[in-house]
């Protein structure tokens, strides 16, 4: 087994067996979405109008919540130093960790979306649209979050700083994710235009996030 595959499988195993990762993220997502009708009021038409935005905000906050575990746990038990010193390029190792992280925390959010869409009075088509945009958008959130997680890994008070650093960078993803969902539900824009921009943002953040995170880890762990 190649080192990258081993790292990928190890991260997935840890996330599934240790707990506290994806499951808690989905639970947090559920609670954020459930809180909204209490704040806005149980007006079903209003909830259907705001539904995509609420689901997107919930997913954004939930993916932010799990980010601090991405490198911090490995830093505490020393395996991050081993990854840094190994022959495998750090960028690829970071990409493998990001993929494992998205599979265990991002994908569950996407899968939970149709159920939460029912709470928001979204019909099947609207739920599918939000799910599709989240499927393209949550990897972008993970890759952007990588940068913040790598920058704050060696800090003692990293948690709150991570949110402050990452959230401004996620604004374009949020804008085009919600715009694409709304375009599919109420129009008048075609769904394809904002959705392709969202996909482009995802691919850009893949490149920028992985290289910036690897650079930040190298600088921070010296």
């Amino acid at each position: 087994m190649s080192p990258l595959a081993a790292l990928f499988i190890r991260d997935i195993r840890l996330a599934i067996r240790v707990g506290g990762g994806g499951g808690i993220g989905v639970l947090f997502f559920l609670i954020v979405v459930v809180l909204m009708p209490f704040a806005i009021g149980p007006d079903l038409t209003l909830l259907a109008r705001l539904g995509p935005a609420i689901l997107w905000l919930g997913a954004l906050l939930a993916s932010l919540l799990t980010l601090d575990r991405l490198f911090a746990v490995d830093h505490e038990d020393g395996s991050l130093d081993l990854i840094l010193m190994s022959d495998t390029p750090l960028e690829l190792a970071v990409a493998a960790k990001a993929a494992a992280h998205w599979l265990t925390t991002g994908l569950p959010l996407v899968i939970a979306t149709p159920l939460l869409g029912l709470f928001m009075n979204l019909d099947a088509k609207a739920s599918a649209a939000v799910m599709l945009t989240l499927l393209a958008g949550t990897p972008a959130l993970t890759f952007i979050g990588l940068i913040g997680a790598a920058l704050s890994v060696a800090l003692r008070r990293g948690g709150l700083l991570l949110a402050v650093l990452v959230l401004p960078l996620t604004v374009p993803v949020l804008i085009f994710g919600v715009a694409a969902s709304n375009a599919a539900i109420v129009g008048p824009l075609p769904f394809g235009t904002p959705f392709t921009i969202l996909c482009a943002l995802m691919l850009t953040s893949l490149v920028v996030g992985i290289f910036a995170a690897a650079a930040a880890l190298r600088q921070g762990m010296e």
Partner: protein
Amino acid sequence: MAIIDLANPTRFLRFAHRAHPWLMEITAAAFVVGLYLTYGAPDDYQQGATVKIMFIHVPSAWLGMFGWALMSIAALGTLVWRHPLADVAAKAAAPIGAAFTFLCLVTGALWGRPMWGTYWVWDARLTSVLILFLMYLGVIALWRTVEDPSRAARAAAILTLVGAINLPIIKFSVDWWNTLHQPASVIKLGGPSIYPTILIPLLVMALAFTLLFVTLHVAAMGNEILRRRVRALMLMQAQSAPGSGE
């Protein structure tokens, strides 16, 4: 190692001490000329005297972006050459750039109230400048969280370079999205579309603001170098103090 690190900053400090009075005088002179020309500039036929907010608003916006561009260049210096002066330049530029961005947002809101009927709209340019301001605050927070200055410099450099993606979005936001904010009228293909009676005072004010930025930046860099020396001296003192285990 420490002596090599200090070698260049020492020369810079000497330069800063000598240049600072001159810079202050030139800045003051540019502001006198700029404000006089602004006073003499004609009122807009639609906007009346409120158009004069532009002479503060537009230069602040330019310098808010200039500050981040400067930090990005300094970030390259930090990451590629590990130059201590680049760290200092990046750190000193962040609060100044944040202040100019804030000034741009405030004057824009004051101008928007009589012209658009609202202090704030969620327009592409306003939003991207607000994000620039939030990123300035994030970088300043990162600088303040990491105790060791050279490690803080490298972390902030990476964040600065990632954030630099926002700069072209701000510049072209008014061309890409058709919104309330007017499109580019000074820096664009085919030359400026402003009448010279307004354009010349605007350019003089932009020069005055740029000089103000440079003056503040040189002074802040000098202060930061001195602050680092004080820190190094205190660390040395703490190491040689009785009872420190030596």
